[in-house]
Symmetry: C2
Subunit: 336 residues, 2 copies
């Protein structure tokens, strides 16, 4: 306890010579993949932090950044990756890719590999907005969490501003004269769903309004839920002239089912989504007014924060990036 | 002409010293990003191939593979990347990421950067099935093209078997007793659309049938086109009891509009899509029977081919990977 593990400790734990451990950690030489794996696993288990190649050939930077996605290359991670690659590529920095697949051991292995490859920095992303455990303490390189914030508030995280996004949607609906706004969203356990709700409530309150009470607020992120929620809303007897939905998929289902039930969209009920996911928002009839979280921006900003960290700035804490409203045909002025 | 460019040629072309050129090509030292860029551009323009770090510290392999996407991390590239990372990660190989964005100069720059970073191999992917120009001749590392095949037939490419996928769809429809099958798809200039057509025609012929003739075969990859095509088909007077659509988006639009026009799906008209894209196929009502191109498999297979190349095998030519049929509720037995 307390003593920092050495490369000898790693070698002993992996059952290999120190030379072999060194080769494995440096990613050089001819080793069996199993041997390399055993050494990296031992290093991860011991918390051994290794910086590759101390020789004079290399400068102080490797011009690589590790990009760790926690849950595959989802439609959320993809635009962020694009933004990161775009911003770093201009600075001649290459992006090393790894997918943790929501598995903590796999993730630690990737972090160890990144460090062994002497990345200059690590960017961590994932689709969930829930605070996630940090990838390590006192890592020798800057780390930036994107979309998924770190549980440790002194870590550097950048996320979308869900509350501000919801405020945009509500303020748009109110400006159209809509006063009876219902909120329908995904699972209550999702922070993003709760933040969008609190933004909704706060913005309505600013205009002296309250959200329409109904039994279909929380559900799941799907069109099927949007359709069901429309039915529940109608049958509940709630009076509403607008619905703000927590995702474009929910909004599309909502629009379809409201129409099926005889309500005109946008005239009788205006609907706003969230995501600006083109294949959903544009295929909906009418096309969805929605909130764009600008994920590629988020990736570019994360890359910019990393570059500033590499230039010596000490950055920490949670940054929130604004969403923007995209107006299409699912919202309109209320009839006089 | 004919003489291989040296690092001095690169330095002269970039207007820097040989030492600076070396630093830039090796990705080391403290240089202005503009200087690094100028050197890499000069190297690319001259066709200078540089392998980083000749020193004794490094073994013969860097345990990195460059992954070049030609057109961003689309929903096609993402599962392929997943498969590649999954298969290579197990062998302790890291993936370096670059996005060419359909720009040849940007792409060459990335290739040059990959080589400067001494990648063991390069995987090239992109959404289009059209043969694409090779990324270079006589590159010092194995290259595998995935999804987008290389124009040069001696290059190693792996693609989905569009014709086989179409045959699966048609054979399924015929086995359900459907004999009047219409084909509706994306732009005729897309090879995948044409191959799926020839597979359709060939499989129907095998059963003594012909595709239903109609004026809405070629269009675009969208739900809107699926809806329009349904209208054109109906108005043309063509008699059909099944439609094979070139994508799930087209199929979803087709299903919706056929229902709107009073045709029951799957009873009157059975519809098959292509892609098995869950957000479209599962949101459709009924859920779509579709052809799954198994893109993650494609990525894993490409990674496997790369590993075999690294083990010394000489691989070349075009490999096609089978699609599989996913049966859901948009197809049913024809009524007796």
């Amino acid at each position: 306890m307390g003593k920092r593990p050495t490369i000898s400790d790693v070698a002993v734990a992996a059952g290999v010579s120190t030379g072999t451990a060194s080769k494995a950690l440096n990613g050089v030489g001819r080793l069996h993949p199993e041997t390399r794996q055993a050494v990296l696993d031992a290093a991860a288990a011991l918390g051994f932090i290794h910086r590759q190649r101390g020789g004079s050939v290399m400068g102080s930077r490797s011009y690589t950044v590790g990009l760790l996605t926690t849950d595959s290359f989802s439609r959320f991670a993809s635009p962020i990756m694009l933004g990161v690659e775009d911003a770093l590529g201009a600075g001649q920095i290459s992006v090393l890719l790894a997918d943790g697949r929501g598995d903590a051991i796999r993730e630690q292995h990737h972090v160890q590999t990144f460090l062994a490859r002497r990345v200059d920095a690590i960017i961590v992303t994932g689709r969930r907005s829930e605070p996630r455990p940090p990838i390590g303490k006192n890592l020798p390189v800057p780390v930036c969490y994107v979309l998924s914030r770190s549980q440790r508030c002194e870590d550097l995280s950048i996320v979308i501003d869900d509350e501000q996004g919801a405020r945009l949607a509500i303020s748009h609906l109110v400006s159209l004269g809509r006063k009876r706004v219902a909120y329908v969203t995904g699972p209550e356990k999702h922070l993003s769903a709760r933040l969008r709700q609190s933004g909704t409530v706060a913005e309505l309150r600013k205009h002296g309004l309250k959200p329409v009470e109904h039994p279909a607020v929380w559900g799941e992120w799907s069109e099927a839920w949007g359709r069901q929620a429309a039915g529940i809303l109608q049958r509940s007897g709630a009076v509403f002239d607008a619905v703000f939905c927590g995702s474009d998929q929910i909004a599309r289902g909502m629009v379809e089912q409201l129409q099926y039930l005889g309500r005109r969209v946008p005239e009788d009920v205006s609907v706003v989504g969230f995501d600006d996911w083109d294949v959903i928002a544009l295929a909906s009839r009418p096309a969805l007014t929605t909130v764009d979280p600008q994920l590629a921006d988020l990736g570019r900003i994360a890359a910019g924060l990393i570059l500033r960290s590499l230039a010596g700035e000490r950055l920490s804490g949670l940054a929130k990036h604004d969403c923007r409203l995209v107006v299409r045909d699912s919202t309109s002025l209320v009839a006089e």
